[in-house]
């Protein structure tokens, strides 16, 4: 069962090949066996899952038309789940049990999905390796001595290890695409505003976007259908006509113009990763697509721009954790100031504190124009680069990451080295564009990701191209040997 795609599981549930209760129990058994090794889930909601699965089976026996009815899913622990602890990977929220569901969680529950549990993640989604989680690192299922990527490392590892057929995730600078690449699964970051951020714990509000991680592009399209919605509770939510993201997924891609940005194939790019990406370009040309050389000249400034804007927004967003209304509170505060300062110092980990301090610095008097305003101007230049390119091409492709998964501890002592892990993914967030990562091969037995970037609201186009590639290749079908 666990080697089936969601599309196949949907068919099997409809034809009663197995029930949702059987499917759910199967994944719960795998979680019981694999989670002590991989640490991909912080919380397992076994009882709730089995109860929901029974209800789904009753609905499937009736006239339920929800495509996802009875399909298990894991939610990243950044999404609020009513009555189920939502920690955001932080000691600060170790005891936080939200009184409401995030819109994404509600949408997926209404579509009939079964929540198996909550996925581990870098603390407050700040990290590219999952090493900043208060609950310990997630291990990469392909090699448990290596990181799974981050911040949605738990979501990606759980899908890769077949502990769930799907997971929700979020992407502020690459946090869906980078772990998807490092774990050999498929991840989609939609256009900013397509998926509601309500109930998704905020990191950097102008960059954060939820999305699905699954095994195939087709599965991501099915999940996106349920996740995307206009939400009056999120003022940045886009009001769009209803759309089926699976429509057009099989369209031939002959004549499609694929942009190859020269700046994404230089510098720190591992030559073996480059070779696997070139193999994928050959698949595209064999399908009739045309490769077009393009330039995104401000790429090198995307990481510096991001590391002003994201920490600046984070320092404001995380100001709400004051130790008073919810979250960690220090013992025996001597004064209100002491309560604030000690609760936050005890509740936040090192990387979160570092980003709050950087954000505070960049927004402080005398530095605002030199850093924050300048970063926003560069953000505009980056967006203009994409606008120019999309006048010539349909999609842009690149490696998702410069190298395959690295070993634990390899970059954790050097924040700058860690930040450069997201060199190919960050610009997409700054511009608000959709992007995805699909598996495209292996380097030294570790998966490599292929990134597709689309123009605004062109999810269908990138899903179409990714699906056509996945019909021709088998990389997305491979699963790691079960770790023991």
């Amino acid at each position: 069962m666990h080697d089936m795609s969601i599309a196949s599981q949907i068919k099997a549930l409809k034809t009663r090949e197995f029930s949702s209760a059987e499917l759910t129990q199967h994944y719960l058994d795998r979680i019981k066996r694999l989670n002590p090794i991989l640490n991909a889930l912080i919380t397992v909601t076994e009882e709730k899952a089995l109860d929901s699965a029974k209800k789904a089976d009753r609905a499937l026996n009736g006239d339920n038309n929800n495509e996802l009815c009875g399909i298990p899913i894991v939610h990243k622990d950044i999404f609020c789940t009513q009555g189920v602890r939502t920690s955001c990977g932080s000691k600060m929220l170790n005891d936080f049990v939200p009184p409401y569901d995030a819109t994404v969680v509600k949408n997926l529950a209404e579509a009939g999905t079964i929540m198996l549990g909550k996925a581990n993640m870098d603390e407050f989604a700040m990290g590219s390796s999952n090493e900043t989680s208060f609950y310990g690192s997630v291990k990469n299922p392909w090699d448990i001595s290596r990181v799974p990527g981050g911040s949605s490392g738990g979501s990606a590892a759980a899908v890769a290890a077949r502990m769930t057929p799907a997971a929700t995730a979020t992407d502020t600078g690459g946090s869906i695409r980078q772990p998807a690449a490092l774990c050999g699964v498929t991840g989609l970051k939609p256009t900013y505003g397509l998926i509601s951020r309500w109930g998704m714990i905020a990191f950097a509000s102008s960059l954060d976007q939820g999305g699905p991680i699954a095994r195939t592009a087709e599965d991501c399209a099915i999940l996106l259908n349920a996740m995307a919605s206009f939400d009056h509770r999120d003022s940045t939510s886009l009001r769009l006509p209803e759309k089926n993201y699976k429509d057009g997924i099989n369209r031939p891609i002959s004549g499609c113009k694929i942009g190859i940005p020269k700046e994404y194939f230089t510098g720190s790019l591992n030559p073996n990763v480059e070779a696997t990406v070139f193999d994928m370009l050959k698949v595209l040309t064999d399908l009739g697509a045309k490769l077009v050389d393009i330039s995104l000249p401000n790429t090198k400034l995307s990481v510096p721009s991001y590391y002003v804007i994201a920490p600046a927004e984070a320092s404001a967003n995380l100001a709400r954790f004051d130790g008073i209304r919810y979250g960690h509170r220090c013992e025996n505060p001597k004064s209100l100031e002491d309560l604030y300062c000690r609760s936050r110092a005890e509740g936040f980990g090192e990387e979160v504190q570092r980003r709050i301090l950087i954000g505070t610095y960049c927004l402080s008097a005398g530095y605002h124009d030199a850093y924050y305003r300048k970063a926003q101007q560069v953000r505009n230049l980056i967006k203009q680069d994409f606008t120019k390119s999309f006048s010539k091409v349909d999609v842009i492709v690149s490696p998702t990451c410069p190298a395959p998964a690295f070993k634990f501890g390899e970059k954790s002592d050097d924040p700058v080295k860690m930040y450069l892990e997201d060199i190919y993914t960050i610009a997409t967030n700054l511009a608000g564009l959709p992007g995805m990562s699909i598996p495209c091969g292996f380097v030294d037995q570790n998966p490599v990701g292929f990134q597709l970037i689309g123009d605004y609201l062109q999810e269908t186009r990138i899903l179409n191209i990714a699906h056509c590639i996945q019909r021709e290749t088998d990389w997305h079908k491979l699963s790691p040997e079960e770790p023991s």
Binding site: V97, L238, D338, I356, L357, Y371, Q376, Q377, N380, A431
Partner: protein, 95 residues
């Protein structure tokens, strides 16, 4: 970009983060490394370039000014460590 120890202390005060004296040098050197990365921004020619605050620049969804949510005060205050008569309790502010 060099910071002084006092700069780190001041940032801690602004950000409401208690900083251990013994860790200041370490924090300082890591912040300096990040600021060095960020300073690459100064190489960009941004004359006549508008700042971009948001991917949906200029767009703001509006709704009727009507109450649409129920008052969930009790549910939300259950999350606090210290509440009395519907009020959050904090340490004494005025001596």
């Amino acid at each position: 970009m060099k910071l002084k120890r006092d700069d780190v202390t001041q940032l801690g005060i602004l950000a409401k983060l208690a900083i251990d004296e013994n860790t200041i040098n370490d924090i300082k050197s890591r912040l300096e490394n990040v600021l060095e990365l960020v300073n690459q921004l100064q190489t960009a020619d941004t004359v006549n370039i508008d700042p971009m605050a948001h991917p949906q620049q200029g767009f703001q969804a509006l709704r009727e000014d009507q109450i649409t949510e129920e008052n969930d005060q009790k549910a939300f205050q259950k999350l606090s460590k210290d509440v009395q008569n519907g009020l959050y309790l904090v340490p004494k502010v005025i001596e």
